[in-house]
């Protein structure tokens, strides 16, 4: 039986410990939503990568900034929003680390993993000016 639509929002400090915390919350939410263990891992890793990106690239590790993570349990999917207070970025500006010239580089793997493990990933400009990464995973029912 699909869960009733629900929304949960958490506010995290810009601390390295917040990454694993958000990941664990993501795994638990995915479990409650009825995702398989394999999909729970994938959702957890995608949340991990999203919050890590917010911590490092968005908020530049600045303690006074916050990271907001919103989980929306919908009838057919789980939607995760990761919002930072940085300068924002565009998905098309992120290099593809699979390209020959980038494969030994430092950038792009986080976004690639989010895209690989979730069904849809978009980056919006948040109302506060930072980046809002929105990713969703469909239920396989």
């Amino acid at each position: 039986m699909p869960p009733k639509p629900q929304r949960m929002e958490i506010t995290l400090e810009t601390l390295i410990e917040s990454i694993a915390l958000a990941e664990e919350v993501g795994v638990r939410v995915a479990a409650v939503a009825g995702f398989s263990e394999d999909d729970q891992y994938k959702i957890g890793l995608a949340v991990h990568e999203g919050v890590m990106n917010a911590f490092q690239n968005g908020n530049k590790q600045r303690r006074e900034r916050k990271i907001h993570v919103i989980f929306e349990l919908l009838e057919d999917r789980l939607v995760v929003h990761v919002v930072d207070q940085g300068a924002g970025f565009r998905l098309e500006d992120v290099p593809d680390p699979r390209d020959d010239e980038n494969v030994l580089g430092d950038s792009g793997r986080g976004v690639l993993l989010m895209k690989a493990f979730m069904d849809q990933v978009d980056v919006l400009s948040s109302t506060a000016g930072g980046a809002e990464v929105v990713m969703s995973k469909l239920h396989k029912r």
Partner: protein
């Protein structure tokens, strides 16, 4: 589980046995320091045994790449050993399986430096 690493020598090959998670923070920086320490002692034939690694993120993958670049720049070689399926999948997704020499048997990994 946090990251732990120990090393041992088999002839002129260094095997780094790792446990836990290689992620931003503790795991990734410890791994970087360990590779630097080995290179400083001119140990340039390195096998990273990932049998105990149950989780790696993009930063951890970046450290593997960084280690590869560091070792190669000093004329050395890096091999990976005992990837579990999840880690192997990440290397496939990121196309890093085309970069690393990956082995399932330690003896084979060690012997490959001399073939």
């Amino acid at each position: 589980m946090s990251f732990k690493a120990t090393s041992r020598e088999i002839g002129d090959v260094t095997v780094i046995d790792m446990d836990g998670r290689i992620t931003l923070g503790e795991g990734s920086s410890l791994l970087r320091d360990l590779v630097r320490e080995k290179l400083a002692k001119s140990h340039k034939k390195i096998v990273m045994n990932l049998a105990g690694i149950n989780y790696i993120d993009s930063t951890g993958l970046g450290e593997l790449v960084s280690g590869y670049r560091m070792i190669k720049s000093q004329g050395g070689e890096l091999k990976l050993l005992n990837l579990n399926q999840k880690v192997a999948d990440l290397l496939e997704i990121t196309k890093l399986y085309t970069v690393f020499d990956i082995h399932r048997q330690e003896a084979e990994a060690v012997a490959s430096f001399h073939s």
